[in-house]
């Protein structure tokens, strides 16, 4: 047991399922797919793909709407989520005595920024400016945060690293509370790059059927966009001030495949090592896990590898631990995936229900797990595990435990 448990006391969300936790959880547990289709056209080339688009967030309360709308889109997502998470946790604008840090999972923000600037007629990518801040730095300045700030990237595992780093800063006493999460807004070039990698589903004509993790007929993932940011603080501090506690950040584990820049290893050992490390960190056994939110993106190789890793870690218990991939509902949010999937785990804990894997019509025999197909189920959830793996062979697992 850790000396100083760290808990989540506030959440902010900007997703295709809604811009607050209540709406997100309701849509998630109802299994309402956020997928539509998007067409990118440039130089006579049209690319049409299934895609989970998030509406632009409104200005947070007390913010000037015009100023807010003039900001880059990804910055608006971050500010909306961070401001709402702080407010949800009970931290109002007057908080000079509280040291607040920010760790943001954000992997492709420079490429996205340069593309956005270029699309608007700018030349930032050509000029070599060295004074432009990261999204996290910019958000910290706008929110008047007075703690350390970091941007962390491990591709689709980024936000799990952000949670781990934030928890560590709290444990070390570097901050009193820490905002942590991830953000992803998707540009036409980003979509094209993933499309040319042949990583995306081609089912643009039936987008709501496109993301089908663990299904035998899966053909790639559906990109999604949005952000989720949470307030982390010590359980002692939360208790002292009578804060609502969503869950404890009970464990984290990480490993690398050391195999390939893109393709996940067929050896389940590295991913299993991350899961086991997270369970060890949380001081729990596999049979104590009530729900696994799988990374499963709906790619042929990745889903199979994760299923093998789950078998390695859970052994005979794999037959009874419910597993679902909420990417079938939200799409794959890349840098923000782990943040939104942590939110899905909080929804499972709060509602004592497991969100489903949509489109799981014919489970791949090589992905034999305790699936929750099509519709959510009522189920006691005290401990939820969230896997997130990424390019560069990054494997991460987060364990969230219902607050005592």
């Amino acid at each position: 047991m850790r000396k100083c448990p760290v808990v989540i006391t506030g959440v902010g969300a900007a997703t295709a399922l809604g811009h607050d936790f209540t709406t997100f959880a309701a849509n998630l547990l109802a299994g309402r797919s956020a997928a539509g289709a998007v067409t990118d056209a440039q130089a006579g080339v049209e690319i049409r793909l299934p895609f989970c688009a998030a509406d632009d967030p409104p200005a947070p309360p007390d913010w000037d709407a015009q100023t807010f709308q003039s900001m880059p889109r990804s910055e608006r997502f971050v500010l909306w989520c961070a401001a709402n998470a702080l407010s949800d946790a009970g931290y109002t604008a007057a908080r000079p005595e509280v040291r607040i840090g920010l760790v943001l999972g954000s992997g492709g923000e420079l490429l996205r920024r340069w593309e956005g600037n270029w699309s608007a007629g700018g030349r930032e990518v050509y000029e070599g400016r060295t004074d432009s801040p990261t999204l996290a730095e910019s958000a910290a300045r706008q929110l008047k945060l007075n703690g350390p700030v970091a941007t962390i990237a491990a591709a689709c595992a980024s936000a799990n690293y952000a949670f781990a780093q934030a928890r560590r800063w709290i444990e070390l006493g570097l901050v009193d509370i820490c905002l942590a999460g991830g953000v992803e807004t998707v540009t036409p070039i980003c979509r094209s790059a993933f499309n040319n990698l042949r990583a995306l589903s081609r089912r643009a004509d039936e987008p709501q059927k496109a993301s089908r993790p663990f299904d035998a007929d899966r053909d790639g993932f559906v990109m999604g966009e949005g952000a989720a940011i949470m307030v982390l603080e010590s359980a002692d501090r939360a208790r002292r001030r009578g804060a609502r506690t969503y869950a404890e950040v009970a464990g984290f584990g990480a490993s690398s495949d050391a195999f390939h820049m893109i393709i996940p290893s067929s050896d389940p050992a590295p991913a299993a090592a991350a899961m086991q490390a997270a369970l060890d960190d949380a001081a729990i056994r596999p049979d104590q896990v009530d729900y696994v939110n799988a990374h499963a993106t709906s790619t042929p190789v990745g889903d199979k590898g994760e299923a093998r890793a789950l078998h390695t870690v859970f052994g005979p218990h794999v037959a009874r631990v419910p597993v679902s991939s909420t990417k079938s509902i939200t799409g794959h949010l890349l840098s923000a995936a782990a943040a939104v999937e942590a939110l899905a785990c909080l929804a499972a804990i709060e509602h004592q229900a497991i969100p489903p894997t949509l489109n799981l019509d014919a489970p791949d025999p090589e992905c034999a797990l305790c699936h929750v197909p099509h519709t959510s189920i009522a189920h006691p959830v005290n401990i939820a595990v969230s896997n997130s793996f990424g390019f560069g062979g990054s494997n991460t697992t987060l364990v969230l435990r219902k607050a005592a």
Binding site: G44, Y126, N196
Partner: protein, 268 residues
Amino acid sequence: MTHSGEACLHLSSWGTARADLSAIAALRKSLPAWAPKDTPGHFLKHADEQTVLAVAALDAAIGSSGRPTSDYHDWAIVAAPRFIGRLAGGATLQRYSRGGGSAISPHLIPQHSLHSISGALSILLSSRQPNFGVGGTGHSMVEGLLAAHTFPQSGSQGTWLIATGWEPEPQLDATGNCCNEPVCHAVALALQSAQQDGSCGRLRLLGDYQSIESSAGHYWSESAAGLCCRLAELVPNGPATCFGWHLPSGGALILEATNTAANLRAAA
């Protein structure tokens, strides 16, 4: 900052690398001797220039450590590039403008993003410990040092911090081609919680303002390029040189480094 006391990691080795565009083109074609035997020769073909230099700095640091590469299989890797992907990004925008989405390289995201350097190094080092990128812009160095210092080391023997960046930054013309003579820099720091024989410095996280101010002879707020140049100038077996980075929230990170005899041999 009320973080009390002082936390310290030991610097067991360091290495640097600098190269211009033509030298980077040559470096792309050769892998370090310690790369796994089954690594394809074209492993760095599509890599970002900063990744290529990161490999060279890591090679220098491993060489100066006098330890076999197998000692580093259980090391975590934190990479802190500055404006990684800008050359590729400039070229990509030109290609997209002319050829649309089908002209975009599938290597753009995997090879030119914030995570790309740490991912590539974990493969070359056969490290199954965590790897991630941090920072990305002007404050990458301090974000990288803080991440390397504070990320839990459980399961890892140590942490490699690799910081990279251009100085001067490349200037691109309207066609996306480079029109100045930029130099890419990389520095690799081997950090461990336990002191090793032949240690060549330490990284301290200080919360006490007075102890920071009383430390004389600091170079403050060096970028990766600046640190790379300063380290390369260290007198062999001379006194430790101190480098400091203020944390925006108060406190500071102080790196003390010496040029050991082993560093000297590697440089030779």
